[in-house]
Amino acid sequence: MTTQAARATDGLRITGLVKRFGDRTVVDDLDLTVHPGELVSLLGPSGCGKTTTLRMVAGFLAADGGSIEIEGKDVVGLPPERRPSAMVFQNYALWPHMTVFKNVAYPLRLRRLPKHEVTDRVEHVLGLVNLLHHRDSRPATISGGEQQRAALARALVQEPQLLLLDEPLSNLDAKLRVKVREDIRELQQRLGITTVLVTHDQDEALSMSDRIAVMNGGRIEQVSAPDELYTDPRTEFVAGFVGQLNSLPGRLVGGRLVPEEGLLTGVRPEDVRLIPVDEPGASAAGHAPQDRLRGRVVRVVPRGAFHELVVEVEDRTLHSLAVGQSLPVGQEVYVDLARPLLFRDGRRLQER
């Protein structure tokens, strides 16, 4: 697939990227391709190297190895001002001594565009992010959400070949975050900008991305579409990081757990079904009672549309989701585990 033609149309192609701080390898032989117009999230826990990767793409950090191509052009040797990317910083990094208009106009002024063109383009972009009424405000006088949009406008006005977003929503309150992430996604799709989004928030990644690259310890564990990532995780880490996972040692054989060295079974909470032992016909369903996992409800956590039930099975706890009717605490239940994910030494074994 890596023909010259395919290369040229790639938005961003990272190959074998390495970064070391001292003797610590923070980004370890990382490969990632982002197609034109696509939004790919780098998702991973804090400290896994997401920001470091993004900063190497933007040019703020020198890579210790590997190549970074934007629209087919290697940018590794270029300083940030010569790269065709634009970044939205986590804390927005607006210039406090300039008005919103001047912040957004700055990149265009640097390009020595005629004054009327600068004004037109800045006003157009401020319109896109709905900030025209604050064109003459200083950053300190507008809200966090508005600052975020000003920072986005400053990146968009450059019409970059690649848009880089580093945790762009982490400084917003929960409600605004949901709205802004929809706004950003809508704008990104409308303008068709190739985008890399860094986040540690799986909801953010799942709701905004075309594809998600899950990072762990400086490496990418899996790159998949959001749905696939959840239903078809390729490693135990991905399964555990994206969505909730009950991890049980051993493998499931006929409804019971059979211990086996190096094997681990993961079950999503919605795949944990609880059947009260005193329910008529409970024992008749499926296997014989002695072959079934049996447990007791120890906690019920209301989650709005559903309940999360914590069940003690033998000496471990499982999480289960119950839509509609919940079960009382103390209820003895049979536990049926559906759609198990089997891992050997952290890697998925069978396809589902």
Binding site: P79, P96, L110, R111
Partner: protein, 285 residues
């Protein structure tokens, strides 16, 4: 609660200023009578508010005019030099974490711990006819300059003594500019030089102005450096004030010169007040 400090300031700052002002206008009685009995060449008040004769004498004296010009020149040149060097060091320290940058910043602070008299003598010896500079240059067959007892030595000494405070002040301002706003500027397409001009300098304006006003006022009224390292004539007003007061026994002329320096300092002080006002205005938001 605020009363004791106010009284203290009125007695120890306000009262001397008022009596000195009255004396410069020729009011030789009252608190000024003791000074006035032994002073020479006094101008005595001719109307109820006094006389400007003493000011006229000082400001029309050709020698003092030259000294005033020298004072202003030294102040302007030294302040500009201090600002350039201090901003350069602060910037270097901000943008590089090399040892050299750190060493330079520490070195710039050292004069703060050396008394001005000792520093002045060191500068004098360094640039004297038989000093280090000429001796070292002579080794390679070059005739070095003699800067001891020249205006240049005063400027070098003024820069030397003013640099530590300016470096501390400006460094703290430049250091407070976050990485992200600098990177955002580069990301937007600005070179490093353009980033310094359009982002770092404007964001450090207030400390730069404060450092500049303190430096200028300090140099303007300096005595030790010009007294030790400068020429006998022309010299700076600080030295003249001392000469007129203790050698020539003309305290009234001294006081007049002091008010001239004070007037110049007030103009500079206005910049300082304006900078502080800007800070306060920002804090309110």
């Amino acid at each position: 609660m605020a009363l004791p400090p106010i009284v203290l300031i009125l007695v120890f700052v306000g009262l001397p200023i008022v009596t000195a002002l009255l004396y410069s206008l020729g009011h030789t009685g009252g608190l000024n009578s003791v000074t006035a009995t032994i002073a020479q060449h006094q101008h005595v008040a001719t109307s109820w508010w006094g006389t400007l004769d003493a000011y006229r004498e000082v400001l029309t004296n050709a020698r003092l005019q030259r000294d005033l010009a020298l004072t202003v020149t030294v102040t302007v040149v030294s302040t500009v030099a201090v600002m350039l060097v201090a901003f350069g060091i602060a910037l270097y320290q901000r943008l590089s974490d090399s040892r050299l940058a750190k060493a330079l910043a520490v070195l710039a602070i050292v004069p703060m711990f050396i008394p001005v008299v000792i520093g002045s003598w060191a500068i004098l010896l360094f640039y004297s006819g038989t000093g280090f500079v000429r001796t070292a240059l002579a080794q390679i067959g070059v005739e070095g300059p003699v800067w001891a007892y020249t205006q240049t030595a005063i400027i070098i000494g003024s820069v030397w003594t003013s640099l530590p405070f300016a470096v501390l002040m400006i460094s703290s301002g430049v250091q407070a500019v976050p990485d992200a706003v600098i990177e955002a500027s580069r990301d937007a397409g600005a070179s490093l030089a353009r980033t310094v001009w359009s982002v770092i300098l404007p964001m450090a304006t207030v400390p730069v102005i404060i450092a500049a006003t303190f430096t200028a006022i300090g140099v303007l009224g300096s005595f030790t450096v010009p007294y030790f390292t400068g020429p006998n004539a022309p010299t700076m007003l600080g030295v003249d004030i001392n000469n007129y007061f203790s050698s020539f026994n003309q305290p009234q002329q001294s006081v007049v010169m002091a008010f001239v320096v004070f007037a110049l300092a007030s103009v500079i002080g206005a910049a300082y007040v304006w900078a502080n006002f800007r800070t306060a205005a920002k804090a309110v938001r």
